[in-house]
Amino acid sequence: MQWLRLLFFFLIVRPAVLFLLGLYVKREELLPKQGPAIVVANHNSHLDTLVLLSLFPLRLLPKVRPVAAADYFAGADTALGWIATNLIGIIPIRRNGSALASMRDDPLKPAAEALAQGSILVIYPEGTRGAPETLAKFKNGVAYLVERFPAVPVTSVYLCGLGKAWPKGARWPVPLLCEAFVEAPLRWCGDRAAFIAKLERRVTEMSKLGDFPGWDHEPSAAAEKRTLEQEK
């Protein structure tokens, strides 16, 4: 199925990302050029994965695997599951954090195996898409993974604009420009909490680089009048 995935990206995803969306990448050269490696990014939209995967040359694409929730992209028996497995090439993991401690039933096992085989994993530490164009608190999974592979570089990418192009809850995407900012890789520092905090700080810093405004929330004259009256 690998050739199908390559064709899908070459003929559909890349032209769509370039023409329908329009992508501007800053410091593309900092992306990993070989596996094993981890790329973490903020997550606001289903488009995030398509854009992130199009950042890599086709030659590397077979190695690049997004880590995704098994319960959402359930198996190969639904259309979404088939696309996620065969075209996007996800590594499904169960997202119940409580099971993390027990090694017998290790939810990160598929991701760890892929890393051991030299894959480039794409991970969203926020865990879910959340509110459009805002950063949620990072989860710890990525730290558990890096702890096991301390030599693996962790490159952060900040995506801007996609939460507006296709936010959670919207049925269809709308063409809007997006940007991707890449930052130099981070290495394992020996402590899970410190590592996650460092990663979160870095992505938060990067979120200030974006050029596009969020949703327009300016209060109208009527709303201002109402609050003034309430204050009286």
């Binding site: 329009g22 501007y24 459009p132 604009g161 507006k164 936010p167 919207a170 269809w172 709308v174 063409p175 809007l176 420009l177 050029d211 596009f212 405004p213 969020g214 949703w215 327009d216 300016e218 209060p219 109208s220 009527a222 709303a223």
Partner: protein, 320 residues
């Protein structure tokens, strides 16, 4: 009015002229790099490279017949509209309106291609204006209604309605050129090349005159790099070029070509400065990075959004 390659001798010469200019520009940059190896010419080189790509795409579209030209200009409108909608603040409730705006692009260019002038000229200014707010009413979002209607319709007028005037020049009927030497079946293509080339060369001329002799700022609050010297040098250059090219390539006679040259130069300047004001308001330098060295598509066609309507109406009413 179709055909795989519209290579009437005048069109071929005009296209040859465009690529000749690009060859001269590339050679000049090569020479500059050799003469001053320490100086940085990256932006100039990038700009020229992007010019090559734009000239190739435009040339291919025009010479393969009007069909592809409409597709090409519709794509330019789409890209400019997308840039505009990405950089202005929009409300989440207006996603449906954005879809309607994108749908307006193929519809507007369909009016152009069908030659239905009346519909082409009222569709965006009247019907899109009237029915654009409909999805907002259905969603029921009134907070920020006026701002949303205003910004969205202005963007549609500039990026789609104005630019589609450049496409409509292709629908102007065949006519002999003004010096009466020769009757070109592809008058529309000649008029569009004339409009686009003069508008773009005017941008370059104003830039070059400004770089060489610019001292007195013309509109510092909006565009600090624009000078009176650049503006007037551009107007003179474009007027002279228009007078020289117009009667030879198109049905526009010498007097009208000179007036049009000055008109295009002034309108192009106003369009450029208007988009600068928009970017200044939004705190941006460029509308995107689609064309290396130039910025976005909207940055490149800003002057064309003003020159295209003026040109079409002037030629339609005065030269036919």
């Amino acid at each position: 009015m179709s055909g795989w390659l519209l290579l009437s001798p005048r069109l071929a010469a005009a296209m040859g002229g465009i690529f000749g200019l690009l060859i001269v520009a590339s050679a000049a940059i090569w020479g500059l790099k050799r003469a001053w190896p320490a100086k940085d010419f990256t932006e100039l080189a990038q700009r020229t490279k992007s010019w090559w790509a734009m000239a190739a795409a435009f040339g291919a579209a025009v010479l393969t017949g009007p069909g592809l030209s409409f597709v090409f200009l519709a794509a330019v409108s789409f890209l400019a509209l997308k840039e505009y909608l990405s950089i202005v603040p929009t409300r989440r409730a207006d996603r449906g309106v954005l879809v309607l705006l994108y749908l307006a692009v193929p519809i507007q260019y369909a009016w152009v291609a069908s030659g239905w002038y009346g519909m082409f000229i009222i569709f965006v200014p009247v019907y899109m204006l009237l029915f654009l707010p409909l999805p907002m009413l259905i969603v029921g979002e009134t907070q920020g209604f006026l701002r949303a209607v205003g910004t969205l319709h202005w963007g549609l007028m500039v990026t789609v309605f104005s630019l589609s005037h450049a496409a409509y020049t292709l629908m102007l009927p065949a006519a002999p050129n003004a010096i009466g030497e020769w009757r070109d079946p592809h008058t529309g293509a000649a008029l569009m090349i004339y409009l686009v080339v003069l508008t773009q060369l005017n941008d370059v001329a104003q830039y070059v005159w400004g770089k060489l002799f610019g001292r007195r700022k013309i509109i510092p609050a909006v565009s600090p790099n624009k000078t009176w010297e650049g503006f007037l040098g551009g107007v003179l250059t474009t007027t002279a070029l228009s007078a020289a090219l117009g009667p030879w390539l198109t049905p526009i006679d010498l007097g009208n070509a000179a007036i049009l040259g000055a008109l295009l130069a002034v309108a192009g300047f106003v369009g450029d400065v208007t988009v600068s004001a928009l970017k200044r308001d939004l705190g941006l330098k460029d509308t995107s990075q689609f064309l290396p060295g130039h910025g976005g598509v909207l940055d490149r066609v800003d002057s064309l959004t003003y020159t295209a309507p003026l040109f079409l109406h002037y030629v339609r009413y005065v030269c036919y």
